[in-house]
């Protein structure tokens, strides 16, 4: 009986202790917590020991060093990444988030730091004409839920394609490989990394052109996102983005991970502010 009460109290203390502990840790203002959706290869992935690595991890750490900030990474699934920022689980998002008008209502974006198109992918032996809408009737397409590609496919092909929405890009690729999906609509670098569709001996191929428009859906490129009121923080990162472009650090990093160009060089006017 006494044991019951003691353990109950202990549990209560544990739970509240954890809540309080986190509340206190929060006050450490010098560290900036960056939210990121893992994995999104080659932008971010975990190595065998569970450590984060990838282009955006390197870029983020570089930006933080230049802005003179102590940064830490917080893993957050894509679905919850904007609510998580607004809910102050972290102070900024650095997770290949495209600038779109819909998101701009919720958050404030930095300057874009890269821009890539989206591509339709299918098995090499499939004969599909993506521009002939009627012929697509009943085919299945996989996209990551809540991304610009989800919005595009839902808006443009919602009436003909059977849309499967996944929590992560990895699951989309898995189901393309398993044969569950006839098509995927992927971010170009993700598709290159996961299924290597540009090689002639790859079992997959690109359909039609790479897609970057309409801008109302695809935006001006990927940027960091901040809470609306954190203007000073956003300005620090804008400055850092200009710097890594100006002194060639960005290009060096880019060459490490990619054999194609995904840079969006900020204009002098943008950097002058």
């Amino acid at each position: 009986m006494n044991k019951w009460i003691t353990s109950a109290l202990l549990a209560g203390a544990l739970v509240s202790g954890q809540i309080l502990g986190q509340a206190m840790a929060q006050d450490d203002k010098d560290t900036v917590r960056l939210g990121i959706d893992v994995p999104y290869e080659p932008f971010v992935m975990r190595d065998a020991d569970g450590k984060l690595e990838g282009f955006e991890i390197d870029l983020g750490n570089e930006l933080c060093a230049r802005a003179n900030l102590e940064c830490s990474w917080v893993e957050q699934s894509w679905d919850g990444i904007i609510p998580g920022l607004l809910a102050r689980k972290y102070d900024a998002i650095l997770s290949s988030m495209a600038i779109t008008p819909e998101r701009e209502r919720q958050v404030m974006f930095s300057l874009p730091y890269y821009n890539t198109p989206s591509v339709w992918i299918t098995a090499r032996d499939r004969d599909i004409d993506i521009d002939d809408k009627q012929s697509l009737e009943g085919l299945s397409v996989g996209v990551q839920r809540g991304t610009i590609r989800d919005v595009y496919v839902t808006q443009e092909y919602g009436d003909v394609l059977d849309i499967h929405r996944y929590g992560s890009s990895q699951e989309v690729v898995n189901d393309l490989q398993s044969g569950r999906l006839d098509l995927t609509f992927e971010d170009f670098p993700i598709a290159v990394d996961a299924i290597d569709f540009r090689q002639d001996d790859s079992p997959y191929k690109q359909l039609g052109d790479s897609i970057k428009t309409p801008t109302s859906i695809f935006g001006k490129g990927a940027a960091m996102a901040f809470r609306q009121r954190d203007k000073a923080l956003a300005a620090k990162f804008d400055k850092a983005i200009c710097e890594v472009y100006a002194d060639g650090t960005f290009d060096k990093l880019m060459e490490q991970y990619f054999d194609y160009d995904l840079s969006v060089r900020p204009s002098e006017a943008d950097c002058a502010q």
Partner: protein, 238 residues
């Protein structure tokens, strides 16, 4: 031995998270269950109504939906409250609802409702004569509860608690969906990375079976303990 391709240690860590989560939620559920049972037995109509509303709502909505609501919406709700504190009293606090806390609170809330039903039945099955006897001995209400009502009630509540625990244990798997790294999530990640579903899912299933079997054994022992003095013919023992 089977080769877990380097995921072995993470699976074990995940198993630990599952057990911690289950035990903490159980404790919260028992506390909430006792409160709910008292509320439902109360003569105060408001208290009774709140108890009934709580159990009805919780038992009418899927665990997963409640969990998503609490995890995704709970933080925003709490922030609204702390923002009010900040505007009104200049107190700036931030309470982080992480996946673990959200998991414990949601599972505790859900099973608190089920426990409430279990305890209500158990409270009612304690004969009033026993409590009268306790009072006649001059026991304080608290002492009478501790020494008489609680042990007698546990005899009737244990089978229900046992059942709830088994269901609760399996419910913990849902936290993997809202992003907590329990053993199911580790197994799902490993499956997606290596394309070997059986290699990771079956060991996890076996761990669940192991915990369930151990708990069954533990509850049998406890039942025997609280059964002392009531003979072998008690209703749950056949």
């Amino acid at each position: 031995m089977i080769d877990l391709q380097g995921y072995g240690p993470r699976l074990l860590e995940g198993a630990l998270v599952t057990v911690e989560l289950a035990v903490l939620s159980l404790i919260l559920a028992v506390i909430l269950g006792l409160l709910t049972a008292s509320a439902k037995l109360s003569r105060n109509r408001l208290v009774h109504g709140i108890g009934t509303l709580y159990t009805t709502l919780v038992r009418g909505v899927p665990d997963l939906v409640l969990m998503m609501l609490l995890f995704y919406g709970g933080q925003i709700g709490i922030n609204m409250l702390t923002d009010q504190l900040y505007y009104a009293f200049d107190i700036d606090i931030f309470i982080n609802v992480d996946a673990f806390v959200a998991g414990v609170i949601t599972i505790g809330l859900i099973f608190g409702a089920y426990m409430g039903e279990t305890f209500r039945g158990a409270f009612q099955s304690v004969e009033e004569g026993q409590m009268e006897a306790a009072r006649a001995y001059g026991m304080s209400p608290l002492l009478a509860f501790r020494r008489v009502r609680f042990p007698l009630m546990m005899r009737h509540a244990l089978p229900g608690i046992g059942n709830n625990w088994m269901v609760l244990l399996k419910t913990t798997a849902l936290v993997s969906i809202i992003g907590l790294t329990d053993m199911v999530r580790v197994a799902a990640e490993a499956t997606k990375a290596t394309h070997e579903p059986f290699l990771f899912m079956i060991p996890v299933a076996l761990i669940y079976l192991l915990i369930a079997t151990l708990s069954e054994w533990g509850f049998a022992k406890l039942t025997k303990r609280y059964n002392t003095g009531f003979g072998e013919s008690s209703e749950w023992n056949n």
